[in-house]
C-alpha cells in the first residue's frame, strides 16, 4: 500500500522539509509519502496537520512541529475518526465512543491524552469553519456553539436521528452534512443561511439553520458523502456522483440545487476538501474546484470548473483504495489490485 499526496504543504503536513527554518514547497506532482505492507489509513488531513495509521500512529504538520512523529497509541482503543479545525488536529473518537484530545500541540511531545471524562457516547464529531460543533451522541445530533461548549456538554440544539443511525458527519465552512442509514442512505444538510449551498431550498418551514433533507437526492440510496468549504458531494449506491455548492463566485450547481455529474460516470467514492472535490474509480482520479496549491495536481488553478482527470497518481497498475481530502490537500491510498 502506498500513500500518495499532493497539495498545500506549508506546514510540512504532507512531506516535512529537511531544513526546519524553511517553509516547505507545496506538492504539485503526486508524490509517495508513505508505504506499508498491510493496512494504511488516513484518519485526518486538515489545513495544517495529517494523521495516518499503519499499525503506528503517524502525525505530520504544525501539530508535530513541522516534522513527522510516531505517537503512542497503546492507550487508545481503535480510532474511528479524527477531527480538527484551522487551529489543527484536535482529537480522535474511538470505537468505545470516547474522545481523546491532542496535547502539547506544536511540540515534539505531542500525544493523545486519556479519554475525556464523562464523554462516552460520541460516535461522530465535526467542527465547522465558524466554530460550531456538531456531534452524534446516542441517537441524537447535538449542536454546540463552540468546542468548549461541547466539552461542557452545553448543547444549543438537538435533533433525533430517524432509524438506523448515522453513517457519516462532515463539517464545512458554515454547516454540516449528515448521511443517515434511512432508505439506504439519506442526506441531510444545515448551515449558513446566507450562502445557498445546502443542496436544498431554504424556506420558513425548512430553514437553513435546522437539518433538512436534500430533496433532490430523496429516494436515491447514497453510499458516501463529503463536505468542505462551501462544496459538498455524494456518491450513490449506483455509483453516480452528485455535487452541490461552490466557492467564491464559482459554483458546482445552481443555487440550492444538486447536480448529477456526467463525467466521471461511475465512481467508487468521493471526498471533499476546503473547496475541491475528488472522485475515483479503479486507478483513476478526477477533480474539480480549487487547485492553487496543487490539490488537483499540477494543472489546478484558482478554480477548475470542469471535472478533469488527475494524472500520475496510482502507478504500476495499482488501484485506489481510498482518498481523503482536507484543507487544500489530497491524500490517496493506492494498493495492488487484488487478483
Amino acid at each position: 500500500m502506498e500513500l500518495i499526496a499532493f497539495g498545500f504543504n506549508a506546514h510540512g503536513q504532507l512531506s516535512p522539509s529537511t531544513n526546519p527554518l524553511e517553509i516547505p514547497e507545496d506538492i504539485r506532482i503526486p508524490q509517495i509519502i508513505a508505504s506499508a505492507s498491510d493496512s494504511l489509513r488516513v484518519l485526518f488531513t486538515g489545513w495544517s496537520d495529517t494523521l495516518q495509521v499503519d499499525g503506528n500512529l503517524r502525525l505530520l504538520g504544525a501539530a508535530s512541529a513541522n516534522t513527522q512523529l510516531t505517537i503512542p497509541s497503546t492507550h487508545l482503543s481503535p480510532i474511528t475518526s479524527a477531527f480538527g479545525d484551522h487551529t489543527g488536529l484536535k482529537g480522535v473518537t474511538t470505537i468505545t465512543q470516547a474522545i481523546h484530545l491532542l496535547q502539547h500541540y506544536g511540540t515534539k511531545q505531542v500525544c493523545f491524552g486519556q479519554r475525556v471524562e464523562g464523554i462516552d457516547d460520541t460516535s461522530h464529531i465535526a467542527i465547522a469553519g465558524n466554530g460550531i460543533v456538531a456531534a452524534v451522541q446516542g441517537d441524537e445530533v447535538l449542536v454546540y456553539r463552540s468546542f468548549s461548549a461541547f466539552l461542557l456538554k452545553n448543547a444549543r440544539q438537538r435533533w433525533k436521528i430517524a432509524g438506523g443511525g448515522v453513517v457519516g458527519l462532515h463539517a464545512n465552512e458554515g454547516g454540516f452534512v449528515v448521511l443517515t442509514r434511512e432508505y439506504g442512505g439519506r442526506v441531510i444538510t444545515w448551515g449558513d443561511a446566507r450562502h445557498e449551498y445546502l443542496g436544498r431550498e431554504t424556506t420558513a418551514e425548512a430553514p437553513a439553520g435546522a437539518p433538512g433533507i436534500v430533496d433532490a437526492l430523496d429516494g436515491i440510496a447514497i453510499a458516501r458523502v463529503g463536505s468542505g468549504g462551501w462544496c459538498s458531494a455524494g456518491v450513490s449506491v449506483e455509483r453516480d456522483v452528485y455535487v452541490w455548492g461552490g466557492a467564491g463566485g464559482d459554483v458546482l450547481a445552481g443555487r440550492g440545487e444538486v447536480e448529477l455529474v456526467q463525467e466521471p460516470e461511475e465512481v467508487d467514492g468521493v471526498s471533499v476538501g476546503d473547496g475541491h472535490v475528488v472522485a475515483w474509480a479503479g486507478g483513476k482520479l478526477w477533480g474539480i474546484g480549487r487547485g492553487e496549491n496543487g490539490q488537483l495536481g499540477k494543472e489546478g488553478g484558482r478554480w477548475r470548473g470542469e471535472w478533469r482527470e488527475i494524472e500520475g497518481v496510482c502507478r504500476h497498475g495499482k488501484v485506489i483504495r481510498d482518498v481523503v481530502c482536507g484543507g487544500w490537500s489530497t491524500l490517496v491510498v493506492c494498493q495492488r489490485q487484488e487478483v
Partner: protein, 494 residues
Amino acid sequence: MCFYDHYSPRFRLKLLSPPANSKKLRVGDLYPCGAPTLQLLKTLTTTPHLLQSTVARCTDILRLATDKLHAFPYREVPLCWLRLYTDVSILKGVYLVQKLFSVRDADGVRRADEEIVRTLDMALIMAGAPGNGRREVIEKILAELEGYVEAFLAVHGGEVMEGVEMNGVGGKGKGKGKGKVEKTRANGDREGEAGGEDGEASRRKRRRLTTPPPSLLPQGFRASSTPSPKITHQIPIRPTPPSLGFFQHHLNTANTPLQIQNLLTAWPAATTNPWSSPSYLLSKTHFGTRLVPIELGKSYTVENWSQKIMPFRDFLRTYILSPGADGSSYPGYLAQHSLFSQIPSLREDILTPDYCYTTPPPGPPSVRTHPLEGPIVNAWFGPAGTVSPLHTDPYANVLCQVLGRKYVRLYPPSESEKLFPRGVEGGGVDMSNTSRVDMDAEGGGVEVEEWERFQGARYLEGVLRTGEGLFIPAGWWHYVRSLDTSFSVSFWWN
C-alpha cells in the same frame, strides 16, 4: 538625475520600515487564528525566503482569512481574521513593492502598481484595516507608490493614465494637497509650474504632455436629457443656508425635511477641485486604480442585485461615461461607500455641514441607535437612473448634491403603515427599514388594495440640484432616483 536616485535609498527605507509600532504583531488579537497560522506568519517574517514564495504564502494566508471573513455574518466576523487579513495584506504589499523596484518597463510597473493597490485596498474594503496605525501605513505606502510610479513613467515615456492631469515629479504628497488643478495650454506649457526642478526634467515632461493621449476623456460629465419630474408637494426650500441657531430650533420644533440651496458654495469639490472632471477624479484615485464596491442591478430589493469590487476607472468607463457598456441595461452604483476613509485626500474637497453638530431629537422607537462620535460620511456616485428604493435610516441626514440632479420623495414616519415595511427576509436579513412598494413598478409591485392605500400617504418631493443639500430627519422614508450622472455625499449624525 534618474528617478531611481531620487527615490532610493530614502524612499525605500521609508517604505520598508514603517513606524515600529505599526508593524509589531500584538499576538493577543491574532491568537484565535490558531498556532499553525501564527507559526507560518512568524516564519515568513523572520527568516529570509525567496521573494516570490513569500508573496505566494501571503496569498495562501489571505485565502484562509478570506474564507473566514465569509464564514460569519459581516458584523460577527471575529477580530482576529480582520486583523490577520489586514496585516498580511500590508506584508504582501511591502514585498510587492520590493519586487516593483526591479521592474524596468512601463507596462510592468503599471501592472505591479495595480496589484499593490488591489492588495492594500482589499484590506481597507474587506476588513476595514483594524489595528493600530494600519490605515496610516496603507495610506502612506499608496501615496509614496503613486509618486514613484508617476516619476518612473514620466522618465520612461509611459502614459500614466489617459488625460490625467499631474502636478509635478515627486510632489504628489505636497502639491496635490493644495489642490490646484493646472490647465494645459494648447502648446503643452503648464501654468504656474512649481520651480525647483532641473530644466532637463521639466522639458522632458512638457514634451510628453504635448503628445495627445490616445483617447481623450471628456472634460465633464454630460447632463442627461431626462426632464425633471413635475413637483406637486415641494419640500420646503431655504434659498440660503439657515443659521445654526435656526436649524437647531427647527430640529426641536418641526423637525421636518428642508431643501437648502447654495449649501456647497465653499466646497472645493464644487469649485477648485471639480468632481465634475473625470480626469480630476482619476488623479485622486491613484490613476483610477483604487478599488471601489459597486452595486449592480436595479435596486437591492431585486433578485439579480449584486455587488462587485472594481478599479475606479473601470467603474467610470463602464457605468458613468458609457452606461450599459457591460451589456446590461441596469446601472452600476457606487453607493453608500465610506470613500473618504478609504481615500482621505478626497475628504479635503468636502466640508462637513455645521448642521451635523446640532442635536437632533431621537428618532422613532424603531430606529434608535448608539450615539455616533462623528458624522458617518458616505459617497454616492452613479449614472442617471440609479435608484435607492423607499427606506428609512436611523440617523438624521444631510444629503449634499455635488454633481447632477436627483429626484427625492419623502414620507413621514407617521405614514409608515401605508408604506408596508418588509420583515425579516431570506438569509435572516432584517429589511424592516425598506418598503415593499416599488415606486418604479406598475402598481408599486404590490396588491391593488395596498397600492391604493399607498397612494393615500402624504409625502414631500423635490429635485435636488447641484450645490444643494437636503435635510432628512431620522426615520423619514425616502426614495431617491438620479436624473443625471450624480455625485452625492451624505452625512449621518445623531
